[in-house]
Symmetry: C2
Subunit: 295 residues, 2 copies
């Protein structure tokens, strides 16, 4: 059995098919999501302890945001080969500051000696009516918050040892406020963790619709322009590198104006009846591959 098959099996059993597990509770729903980050894959040379903490909190809070949820709190398991006071204090400050930014709370955690710096954050949230991945309807507008290419740009800057700017980009804001405001309008929502292309495919699988995306409308971060060597790389950064942690959602045309009054976002395409993901570049339609950032 090929490893990919095994992972697929595992995903089927562990992946709940949404950004969070949904637990009906009293008259509402609790949301629970967990994410593992570790040195080798998630924190390039130059990542500050504060940024490590921030990003650890942010990835799980972003999952709460993607369901239109309100964070109740976060717990963190930390494994590290050694503990210096400075490192720990900065890490905790990053965790706490990110939580506070979205009205969340660092509630506690567990620590352990571990050969490799490893962090697992678990966020708890609540949503009366969680926005699922499965609600997109033919004709819906496909929209994205803020800009794409944040992590792609940060990784380039780490490579170029421009670590200050790279760290800044790495400390993304979980779109909790946007998620809460969009929840009444959105038919389906997801956060872009593995790249726009992968997230579109995930929405498509869950909702049973396709999408036609206008490449020219993608709100690329200005940082990308100066960092991509050519058009090919620019597209790669915008579509496939991933970890943008923006909200990708669909809304009916009728709700557009009201939603745009509440939150700033960009409509980038439409949901199709046919289950294909199409990208229009220079007037030509091509199929968008189902590949993304491999964590």
């Amino acid at each position: 059995m090929h490893e990919f098959e095994v992972l697929k099996l595992l995903y089927t059993r562990l992946d709940v098919g949404d950004d969070c597990a949904v637990i009906p509770f009293q008259d509402t729903n609790l949301l629970l999501t967990t994410d593992m980050l570790h040195r080798a894959t998630d924190f390039p040379e130059g990542t500050e302890a504060y940024t490590v903490g921030w990003r650890t909190a942010a990835v799980s809070l972003s999952d709460i945001a993607a369901m239109g949820g309100r964070p109740l709190g976060l717990v963190v398991a930390l494994g590290a080969p050694r503990f210096s006071k400075e490192f720990i204090e900065e890490l905790l400050a990053g965790l706490e500051d990110c939580c506070h930014l979205v009205n969340g709370r660092l509630l506690g955690g567990d620590i352990d000696h571990h050969r490799e710096l490893t962090l697992v954050s678990t966020a708890l949230g609540v949503a009366k009516k969680p926005v699922l991945r499965s609600g997109a309807k033919t004709g819906d507008l496909v929209c994205v918050t803020h800009g794409l290419g944040r992590t792609a740009a940060a990784l380039k800057l780490f490579e170029l040892t421009q670590v200050e700017k790279a760290n800044e980009l790495f400390r993304f804001t979980p779109r909790v406020e946007e998620g809460l405001k969009l929840a009444p309008y959105a038919d389906a929502m997801i956060d872009i963790s593995d790249g726009l292309a992968r997230s579109l495919h995930q929405l498509s699988e869950a909702s049973g619709v396709g999408f036609a995306i206008e490449y020219e409308r993608l709100p690329l971060l200005p940082e990308i322009a100066g960092l991509a060597a050519d058009e090919r790389e620019r597209r790669e950064m915008a579509l496939y590198t991933g970890e943008d942690f923006e909200l990708l959602f669909t809304i009916p045309q009728a709700g557009l104006e009201e939603a745009q009054g509440a939150v700033k976002f960009t409509a980038i395409g439409r949901a199709l009846k046919e289950r294909k993901i199409l990208l229009r570049v220079n007037g030509k339609l091509e199929e968008l591959e189902d590949r993304g950032y491999e964590h």
Copy 2:
């Protein structure tokens, strides 16, 4: 700064002072707890994948039990160097079976490639009136569920390559049922994760009382007798090795009979006004050291 000081600092910020973080929610309280386990420290050679999964779920569910809580569900982050179908299926079966045993549910998780097998389980629970570590009162009886020395015995058996029996002992039952039944009677409760001695010190610190424990009354598992080389080792296994995952709690004398009608447990001593942890062995009182199993 010595590493121990750094860890203390970290504990102060991450440790909530109880087995779970308590989140007041509507007319009740949510409980959230996270635990990291990994190959080097938690799974000796011979630990089956099924046992790895079981124990991963059980450690967090035991924390819910220790607050007198009812589990709502569990999420698990899994990092592993490679994924074989058999390993994954057994691991998931262990996770699921342990959850089902206590009416919990495996809700989802995250997977990641990692050099070392690393699992983090996070359990969500609910308790109208969580039993804290801080409620023990002078004169209370100190009690423990079932038997002590389970992990001590299992570790010995792993060493002796008696892996079947070792795995069986390693798959402990989270005392959820007992916790729920004891909650109305207990003044304070904790699960014994780092050994009876360490847990008594933790209860003492939180409650501001001391304890006098009768060594002869400790309900040692029968397995210990045949495995300890001498009396010194027997005491070590009973008091310090830890990971018994039994409930240690205090109740007023007046509640004893009723509580014993609901749950089987053993009274092993009394809470004292003076903040000392005393052990009576052969009629002599000695102070019980504050040391335990280092994970």
